[in-house]
């Protein structure tokens, strides 16, 4: 039994000492059943981090899901207010660590927009290629974990096998595997490694044979489809109203791919399809991500052979001071739309910097779509949402 907390007081529940279950309630049958609370997390195998969900459950049926956040909150937004813009880029790695490159890019693009710097074509193309590699790596990890959450442990190792190859490419180019810090305002830290193009091509050839393997192992599995089809259905209206983005929104037919709607970097010159499914269930979200991996490979293939020559960085002042004003830039991370809002007063620090993180908005839907579902459904739905907790907590 968890200790009596302020939440119980908020719920107006009278707790009697010694009773394990709270809030007695008679359902419309002859049995007296009791709802009770279960803490899922902050340390739980399915929570993928320190997400704490307070479940009100009646047997196996979920009555209410209440997220309790803040276990890994570092107040990055407050830290940004005292840091220079170059330093802020490095902080963003720690938000959504699975798409760290794209987070870096978001801040860099905002600063470049404010300074009216036009980066070279080479920078744009390299940024796009690495963004898409990051997306594949993130989805590989998600795929492994999705399988694990619905009980198929083997997928984890298959996902990690392919992710390792991408991480190796990153390591060779910029020295880091996860928190890359490859972007700086005005361009890139340094040029790509000579092996980069070859290894990326090797990876694409390899992954094209391995992605169908994913389908054979998990997608076509009857049990998996039974576990995910019709589970956690999110309608398009709700998807828009709840401000969801990324694969969660696109699984519900809400076409909000930032790469399509608000072009940035080199996305305006590549041809790719926006993965869109209309069922809105966990399986649709699953299919969106699988399709996104195919599309990401398509984008990389279009760009990898024709990386233009050019400068790697456009020189900026050592101390970047943004002109007075407000700047907003959105990018598409592996989890959805990341927005960076910078309010500058003309000094070397932002007056206010807000990260609109995709996970936070997506999390708000969870309670809405899992009411009345089973515990197993909640786990499958959460897996299809692909939460990264530092992204929610920032």
């Amino acid at each position: 039994m968890r200790p009596i907390s302020y939440r119980d007081c908020e719920r107006n529940i009278t707790l009697e000492p010694g009773t394990q279950n709270m809030k007695p309630e008679t359902i419309n049958n002859n049995f007296k059943t009791e709802e009770y609370f279960v803490n899922m997390g902050p340390q739980h195998p399915a929570a993928h981090g320190v997400l704490r969900l307070i479940l009100t459950i009646d047997g196996e049926i979920i009555k209410n899901v209440e997220p309790d956040l803040g276990y890994i909150h570092r107040s990055i937004e407050k830290m940004c207010e005292r840091d220079s813009y170059q330093q802020i880029v490095h902080l963003t790695d720690r938000m959504d660590y699975l798409s760290s490159h794209i987070n870096n890019e978001a801040v860099c693009l905002t600063v470049e927009k404010a300074l009216e710097i036009e980066v070279s074509e080479r920078v744009k193309v390299i940024r796009t290629i690495i963004s898409e590699l990051t997306r594949i790596a993130s989805h590989c990890l998600w795929w492994g974990v999705m399988g694990m959450d619905v009980g198929a442990l083997t997928t984890y190792f298959y996902g990690f096998r392919d992710r390792e190859m991408i991480n190796d490419i990153f390591e060779e180019t910029c020295g880091a595997r996860l928190t890359m810090n490859y972007n700086i305002p005005g361009g890139l830290m340094f040029d790509i490694h000579p092996n980069f193009v070859k290894r990326t091509k090797d990876f694409i050839t390899h992954f094209k044979t391995k992605l169908p393997e994913y389908d054979r192992l998990l997608t076509g599995n009857v049990i998996f489809q039974k576990r995910t089809k019709g589970v956690g259905v999110l309608t398009k209206e709700d998807a828009i109203s709840f401000g969801t983005s990324g694969p969660v929104a696109r699984g519900s037919g809400f076409a909000n791919d930032v790469r399509k709607r608000h072009h940035y970097s080199a996305y305006d010159r590549v041809d790719f399809k926006e993965a869109l499914f209309t069922e809105g269930d966990s399986f649709a979200r699953y299919q969106v991500r699988i399709m996104e991996m195919w599309e990401a490979m398509k984008i990389i293939e279009q760009l990898i052979d024709t990386i233009p020559e050019g400068d790697i960085k456009t020189p900026t002042n050592a101390v970047i001071k943004l002109p007075k004003g407000e700047y907003y830039q959105r990018v598409e991370t592996a989890r959805g739309e990341l927005g960076v809002y910078i309010n500058s007063t003309g000094t070397k620090n932002p007056y206010r910097l807000k990260f609109r993180s995709p996970g936070f908005s997506n999390l708000s839907v969870l309670d809405h779509i899992t009411k009345g579902a089973k515990i197993g459904d909640l786990v499958a739905t959460m897996a299809s949402f692909d939460f990264v907790i530092p992204d929610i907590d920032r």
Binding site: M1, Q20, Y36, V38, H44, P45, A46, E60, G147, M148, D149, V150, G151, A152, L153, T154, Y156, F157, Y158, R161, L217, L218, N221, I223, F224, K226, R227, K374, I375, G376, D377, V379, A383
Partner: protein
């Protein structure tokens, strides 16, 4: 067993009866056999764990344990030693008596069930004429251990796990029982040694009973996997939902008992399948029939290991079912099919259509 060990057992038997009064000698002999079985199957269980880890590694592009001993052969021994030496912790509000009783319940029932299996012609501890009935009866006691373990832990995850286990085992017990009964119709006896004798002349039962026997085997494998609470039916300890399920609060050797029992149960289910469908210790096509020195137990073990491998294959390939899907599968599909299958088998035997 081989001739030489047989002679040893006979020597011991004669010696015991020569030095002791008859009752004392028989009790001592039973104790000796019990200890021998305990030792044998504790080790067998440990090696099943190792096998599972190796198989899992093979499925998952890994190497598996390979550091302790040659090919990691002593890995699970070391694990068992570690678990033995660990402190037995428990929470304050557990029901102490039931909490401590539960693991023994589980492991004891598993070991009791082992006693009736004919591992070879001579290697059978307890050849009773209601062997199959005894097996069904004993193997369903284990769930009580899981239930009281989950209940007495005073942990909500353990409680949910235990309740799931109760629901699951009671449901799938029916299918296991009915598919066994289907085969018993064919043999006309419940004694396990006789069931094997029947297969010596008429071919394995899965051949004798053809279509209904194959259906019965498939149902038995599904229900048997569910009985042992293994994936894809491992809702009891679904780690992504319930942490560790009913044994969340157990540590050290008490946890090891639950763990070992799972593997011995798997061995039991595979053994039942081998005896009832694949001719027990009989060699395929009688190839070693005439060779007197050939250890028949080897055939038994090979067949059991093949079936165990099948169950491991399930585990490392399939996702887990949800609780309502689990019950739907049993009550809406397996049970009706099984009942029809039973009638079909009866008709086939009546019309003499068996091979």
């Amino acid at each position: 067993m081989m001739m030489i060990p047989l002679n040893i057992t006979k020597t011991i038997h004669d010696w015991l009866y020569s030095v002791m009064p008859e009752n004392a000698a028989s009790i001592t002999e039973m104790l000796l056999i019990a200890i021998a079985y305990l030792a044998l199957f504790a080790v067998a269980g440990l090696y099943l764990v190792l096998l599972e880890r190796k198989v899992a590694a093979w499925f998952q592009l890994r190497l598996g344990p390979n550091r302790v001993g040659p090919f990691g052969l002593f890995q699970t021994m070391a694990d068992a030693l570690k678990l033995l030496s660990k402190e037995l912790t428990s929470t304050d509000k557990t029901d102490k008596f039931l909490y401590n009783l539960a693991p023994f319940f589980v492991i004891t029932t598993s070991l009791i069930a082992l006693s009736v299996f004919p591992f070879s012609k001579q290697f059978q501890a307890f050849d009773i004429n209601i062997g199959v009935f005894f097996l069904i009866a004993v193997s369903s006691i284990g769930v009580i251990g899981i239930l009281i373990g989950g209940w007495s832990s005073n942990n909500k995850y353990a409680m949910i796990g235990a309740m799931r286990s109760g629901v699951q085992t009671i449901s799938y017990e029916l299918s296991v029982g009915l598919s066994i009964i289907t085969m018993v119709l064919l043999t006309g006896t419940l004694q396990l040694s006789e069931i094997i004798e029947i297969q010596r002349t008429g071919g394995w039962l899965i051949w004798q009973g053809h279509i209904p026997a194959i259906i019965a085997f498939m149902i038995f494998m599904i229900a048997g996997t569910a009985e042992t609470n293994r994936a894809p039916f491992d809702l009891v300890e679904a780690e992504s939902e319930l942490g560790a399920g009913f044994h969340t609060e157990y540590s050290g050797m008490k946890f090891a008992y639950f763990f070992l029992a799972e593997f011995i149960n798997m061995f039991i289910i595979a053994s039942i399948a081998v005896v009832l469908f694949f001719g027990g210790w009989l060699s395929p096509f009688g190839i070693t029939e005439g060779i007197t020195w050939f250890p028949e137990v080897l055939w038994f073990l090979i067949k059991v290991l093949i079936i165990i491998f099948l169950m491991m294959w399930f585990r490392w390939t399939f996702p887990r079912l949800r609780i309502d899907q689990l019950l739907t599968l049993e009550w809406k599909y397996l049970l009706p099919i099984n009942l029809v299958n039973l009638v079909v088998m009866a008709i086939i035997i009546w019309l003499n259509l068996t091979f």
